[in-house]
Amino acid sequence: MEFSDPKVQLQIAYLLGGSMVVVNFALLYQSRMSSVINAFAIHATILGLAVAWQANVQNAPNLYITAAIALVFKALALPAALHYVVRKLNVHRTVEMVFGTGLTMMAGVALVGLAVMIMQPVTQHSGALVTIDLIFAMAVLFLGVLMMITRRNAVTQVIGFMAMENGLILAAVGVHGMPLVVEISVALAVLVAFIVFGLFLFRIRERFYSLDVRYLDPDSRIPQ
């Protein structure tokens, strides 16, 4: 196999992007908190690999920094921190879903279809890499939001949010010449989000002795 062949390069980029979508479905499927966090670590790892591959293909060494951020920060540090939070706060170890797994998965499939239908006409005149890359990115974005709105627990919502961020970065690296500044700002945004959500978790914990966001509802019927 010749790695300098453009066709092969393209296929590898597709493989990595596609795996992110698949892992995203895995994220949706998990019912235990620790495995959700692990799945997210895999998600971030694949993102790191995809970014690194793009850095190689596009001959853009600055993208290696982004890849490093994804691998070190998102694939290692954040999951570790989340594991710590879950242990420390004694969070309920099962994922509380709003709809059943099957329904959520079906909605996810529909969203991937929608992403294809939206992105194909828009990127007709761009290259094949851009089209497929943006489709995958859009699908990851949609699935991230879907995760956020179909999970009751705050930790899983944080993970959905960060999966969404991964989608954004995947979209950013697929396009030639994305400046590094934006990369770092995106990474910082994730960091800020993590801090905010972290505080948020501690606050809920302090107030309600639970991380169930239903306690934030004004009309909540849960006995406190």
């Binding site: 929608l114 939001v145 956020m148 009751r152 919502q157 934030l216 009309d219």
Partner: protein, 674 residues
Amino acid sequence: MLGFVLWGVLAEGLFGVVAVAGRRVTSIGTVIYGGCLAVSLSVALTAVLFLVQGGAPANDALILPIGLPWLHAHFRLDVLSAFFLFVVGLGGAAVSLFALGHSRHPNKHYPDPTRILPFYPLFLAAMTLVLVADDAFVFLFSWEFMSLSSWLLVLANHREKGNADAAFIYLVMAGIGTVALLFAFGLLAGVEGHYAFSAMRGAPHTVALATAVLLLALIGAGGKAGIVPLHIWLPLAHPSAPSWVSALMSGVMTKVAVYGFIRLTFDLVGPGQWWWGGLVMAIGGVTAVMGVLKALMQHDLKRLLAYHTVENIGIIFIALGLALAFGANHRPALAALALTAALLHVFNHSVFKSLLFIGSGAVLWATGNRNMERQGGLIHRMPGTALAFLLGSAAISALPPLNGFVSEWLLLQGLLFGPQLPQWPMKMEIPIVAAMLALSAALAATCFVKAFGIVFLGRPRTPEAAQAPETDRYSLTAMFFLAGLCVLVGILPAPILDLIEPAVRLLSGETMAGAEGTNWLWLVPVDAARSSYSGLAMLVLTALAAVTLSLLIRRYLSHGVRRSAAWDCGFPDDSPSSQYTASSFAQPIRRVFGTALLAAREEVTMPEPGDTSPARFEVRLTDYAWNWFYRPPGRLVLSLAEWTSVMQRQSIRRYLGFMFATLIILLMVGMSWN
């Protein structure tokens, strides 16, 4: 000349600043009102000069680099705006003179002058600016400025019960009106967005678009003028303002609204459909009758006058509708007749309504009360005010030889030509509208017999009324100036018709037969053989008849000595409360029309024999406009709000879900769009 008018506007704007800066100076009121008087008078004179020259420089236009950076402000003075400038200037001058007098001796019934003085000149400036605007932006800007400054003036008495509500309703209705006008101009401007009036005037408009503009103009400008059912704010807001501001709002601002309607429908849209005339006339007829009926039921003097404004606006709209119908049927001479009637009534109403409102202001100042049931016998204490008010009442009741009669007579002459229209619906509608006009004139006379009789005649009903002082010389001068105009225009309408004629020619392309300035004494609208009127002859004949009759009666009928039981002038009881009251005077009319049209309910509570509690009589009136046009949308908004409020109390997850669903739906819509 346009430049001069704009300098006047600027000066009035500066007066607003001066009023704020000099609010601690005691004689600041004199300065401001004196300045407004001077500016208004010069604006009126400028307009007259412009009109006397026949509007020879037909385009007195200016483009100033102010306003939005990419949109210069266009101003233009043409014969139509000049005529309305004359009306605004004259009304503004007389009212400012009255205000000048009243600001010199404030009493406890008056609001803090610092709440009036800054806004009064701005209000005048805004009205002037509307009239010289030549693009939609300047027009809407000044229109909204006019609404807001008058809104602040309505709020001057904000501590009085009901005034804050009145101001709020006014603000809401003014907002709806401005939005309607915004859409009207947007439709006229078309996709290219030519906001200058000259571009709109030339552009071809489809019938559907033109009709939409007419309806929007009816909502926007008509609502400001006070047509039923958009009148509801008017009888609340006009009386709540200080009396001289009420005079401006009722006498002058409604005329600016009529100007807006004429500018939009006659000038900018171009030739209309015959049924537009039918629609506008029907609205005018209903407005006239409902306005006067509601006026008859009031016992608050200023509110009664405000309802009469609604009635007179109805009369003006009947005339405008008639002009539209004739114009659409290519009868320009008859359209000119109807337009002359409309514009003359605009002038007349501004004169006598300003007079009546400042008269009521003098009464309010003297007795501290707007309620007619607490006045009485003021003719002895305030003879000057009473005489001026009487002249105004006679003029608004369309009694010859005063000015109100001339315009309503002209309008009736125009309506008599209605059967010449080819359309059957119009042939049927016009006699009905004519009957409504006659009915409203008769009811107006009844109403002013009541207003004048209860307030000025009889015996004082309260100690305040018995002690009422006559108002000052400035105010009396203002009143007699306006009353003199009522008489003068009634007797010799020709000079005013000369001022109206250029505008009528501009709008209808034709001129009224009798308005060519050759005949100063006789008014011949179409044909001398058909009908003619001379105010002077009428005056001489009436005077002769009255003198002869009184001499005859004195000579032949009151000589004989008669013996009869002593007649105590209809007052068997000594108490002044045994006199006719405003409510009892209106009772027959209330019984005839009130039950059906106003859902009037009279309730008498008689105590049981032996019970010492007083008997009570209560009248309840309903305005169907509220029930039909305002309550249902209000309920709809409330129930929608109730329904959507469920969405406001959700978890973060649900909010995210809503946003996501919206995004997905929008994306799908966007996709299917492509």
